[in-house]
Amino acid sequence: MSLLSAKRLEKHYGHHVVLENLNFSVEQGEFVTLVGASGCGKTTFLKMLLGTEAISKGNLLLDGKPIPNEPGPDRGVVFQKYSVFPHLTVLGNVMIADELHSAKLLGKSFGTAKRHAIEKAQARIEEVGLSHALNKYPHELSGGMQQRLAIAQALMMRPRMLLLDEPFGALDPGIRQDMHELITRLWQEQQLTIFMITHDLKEAFELGTRLWVFDKTRHDPQAPEAYGATITYDLPISRDRPTADLTEALHQGGLKTHTQETLL
C-alpha cells in the first residue's frame, strides 16, 4: 500500500476552484518536488496534507486512512519563515518535541527525563551542524542556521512525511547549496518521504526523485475562477541524470504551461 494517495481530490472556496482532479500515489522514501506559478495552489495542497485546509471533494489517504483534519506529529513541516520558536534557544527548540511527548501536563521535563531529552536533541542538532550554537536564541542565528534548526526540530518526531514550503527561498545561493546537501543526506540516512514546494526549477530537479508541475489545464477567460489547477506533469527524475539534459529533454518533450516563462 502506498504511503499517500489521492483520488479526484478537489479544493474550492465557494465557486472559486483552486485545485481539481488530483490523482496520485506516493510511496515511502520518495522526494516529491512541487513547482508551479505563484497562486496556483501548491501551498493550499501542502496545507491539505498538513490538515489546516479541509478537503472539498474526493479523498486523500495517508497509510490507507483519511488524512487527519488537523496537524499532528506524523507530518513534520518547515516553513519559509517563523518555523522556530523565538522564545526558546536552539536546544530548547529541539528539546520541546520530546518534552511535549513525555510531560503531558507541564510540557517541560525535569531530572532524568530532561537529561534524556537533551541527549536526544543534541544528536539531532549535531546532524544539522548547529552544535556550536546550542544556547543561542533564533534571533542570533542567520537565516540558514534558523532553517537548519527548523529541520532538526521537525525531524525529532520521526514524521511519516516531511513537508517543506519553500524552505530555502529566502537564503543566499551559497547557503542554499549547503542546505541541499544537508537535506539530501538526511533524506537518504533516515529514509524520509519529502514534499517540497520550490520556485527554483533547478533545485526541484536536483533534489527530487519526482517532479510535479501544478497548472491549469482549462481556462475560461469569462470565468477565471471556474477551473482549478491540477498536476499537469508527474515526472520521475533520476538523480544520476545531469540536470542540463533533463531540462533540454523537457523542452523537447514539450513542458508547456500557461506560465512557462516563470518556470524555465
Binding site: G72, P73, V77, Y82, L88, A97, L100, K104, Y137, M157
Partner: protein, 275 residues
C-alpha cells in the same frame, strides 16, 4: 551638511540636551516665584525650593503627635500597597483571560465582546457603585484600579496572541502539542514579556484611578494628602508630593523594563538602541 534626520547627538551631549528643558522650567519657576514673593513674602502659591524642602523634610521625619506615624511614609506605603495589589490582580486576570481569548476561538467568541464593552465603560463613572458595594475601605480603591486596567491588558494580550504567526501554532501541533501544551509553552512564554510591557503602559492610568479614589474617601495615601492640604493652599506640600509620586511611578516603570530585559532577552532583540 547632513540631513536633519541623520544628525544624532553624542552620548554626553544627549544627557545635556535632555537636561536642558528641565533647567529651563526650573528657571521659569524660580523667577515667577521670586517675583511673587518679592511682592508678598507670605504668598503660598509659588513657594521657594527651600520652603518646599523643609516642608517635605518635616513630613518625612516628624512623627505625628497623636498617632506616632510619619506622614510621608504612611501615605507612600498605603498608596503603593493599593496600586501594587490592584495592578497585580489586573495583570494576573489579564494574562489568563488574554491567553484563553487569544488561543481558543470558542472562548474568544464568548468573552471578547464582553471585554470590549467593559473596556469602554469609564471606570470613574462606576466609582460610586464601588463605594456602595465595597464600602469606602481598601477594597473599593483596589477594585477601581482592577476594573480600569484589566480590560486594557486583556485586549492588548489577546491582540498580541492573535498576531503570533500561525506557523508557530501549526509547528507546535506537528511536534505533538495538545491545546493545553500550546497555551502553556507557546502562548504563555511569548505573552509574558508583552504583559510587562502593557502593564508599564497601564501604570499611568492605575495612578490616576488610585489618586482619584483616595481623593474621595481615604484616611491616608498620597492622593488623600494632596487633596487634604489643598484646603490650606499648601503648595509647599503639594508640589513635592507630585514630584515624589512622579519618582515612584518612574521607578515602577523602570523596574518593569529591567525585569523584561533581563528575563526575556529574545523579546527585545528587534528593538534598536536609539533613544
Amino acid at each position: 551638511m547632513k540631513r536633519l534626520i541623520n544628525l544624532a547627538p553624542s552620548r554626553g551631549s544627549r544627557w545635556l540636551l535632555g537636561l536642558l528643558p528641565f533647567l529651563l522650567l526650573a528657571m521659569v519657576y524660580l523667577s515667577l516665584s521670586n517675583a511673587r514673593l518679592a511682592e508678598n513674602p507670605n504668598d503660598r502659591l509659588l513657594p521657594t525650593p527651600a520652603t518646599m524642602a523643609s516642608s517635605f523634610y518635616h513630613l518625612a521625619t516628624a512623627e505625628n503627635v497623636r498617632t506616632g506615624q510619619i506622614v510621608l511614609w504612611t501615605d507612600t506605603f498605603a498608596s503603593l500597597e493599593r496600586i501594587l495589589i490592584g495592578v497585580a490582580i489586573s495583570a494576573f486576570i489579564g494574562l489568563i483571560v488574554g491567553i484563553l481569548n487569544g488561543g481558543i476561538p470558542l472562548i474568544r467568541a464568548k468573552l471578547s465582546p464582553l471585554v470590549t464593552v467593559a473596556s469602554l465603560i469609564p471606570p470613574m463613572a462606576i466609582l460610586p457603585i464601588l463605594f456602595i458595594a465595597f464600602g469606602t475601605g481598601e477594597a473599593a480603591k483596589i477594585a477601581l484600579i482592577v476594573i480600569g486596567v484589566t480590560p486594557f491588558l486583556i485586549r492588548d494580550l489577546q491582540g498580541h496572541a492573535l498576531r503570533l504567526p500561525d506557523e508557530q501554532l501549526i509547528k507546535a501541533q506537528t511536534l505533538g502539542a495538545s491545546s493545553w501544551q500550546v497555551l502553556l509553552r507557546v502562548l504563555l512564554p511569548q505573552l509574558t514579556p508583552r504583559l510587562l510591557n502593557a502593564t508599564s503602559l497601564a501604570l499611568g492610568s492605575a495612578w490616576l484611578f488610585l489618586i482619584a479614589a483616595e481623593a474621595i474617601a481615604a484616611q491616608e495615601g498620597l492622593g488623600y494628602r494632596i487633596f487634604l492640604v489643598r484646603r490650606y493652599l499648601s503648595m509647599d506640600v503639594i508640589l513635592p508630593y507630585v514630584a515624589w509620586i512622579t519618582l515612584l511611578a518612574f521607578l515602577l516603570d523602570q523596574i518593569l523594563a529591567w525585569t523584561s530585559r533581563l528575563a526575556f532577552p529574545w523579546y527585545h532583540s528587534g528593538e534598536g538602541d536609539k533613544s
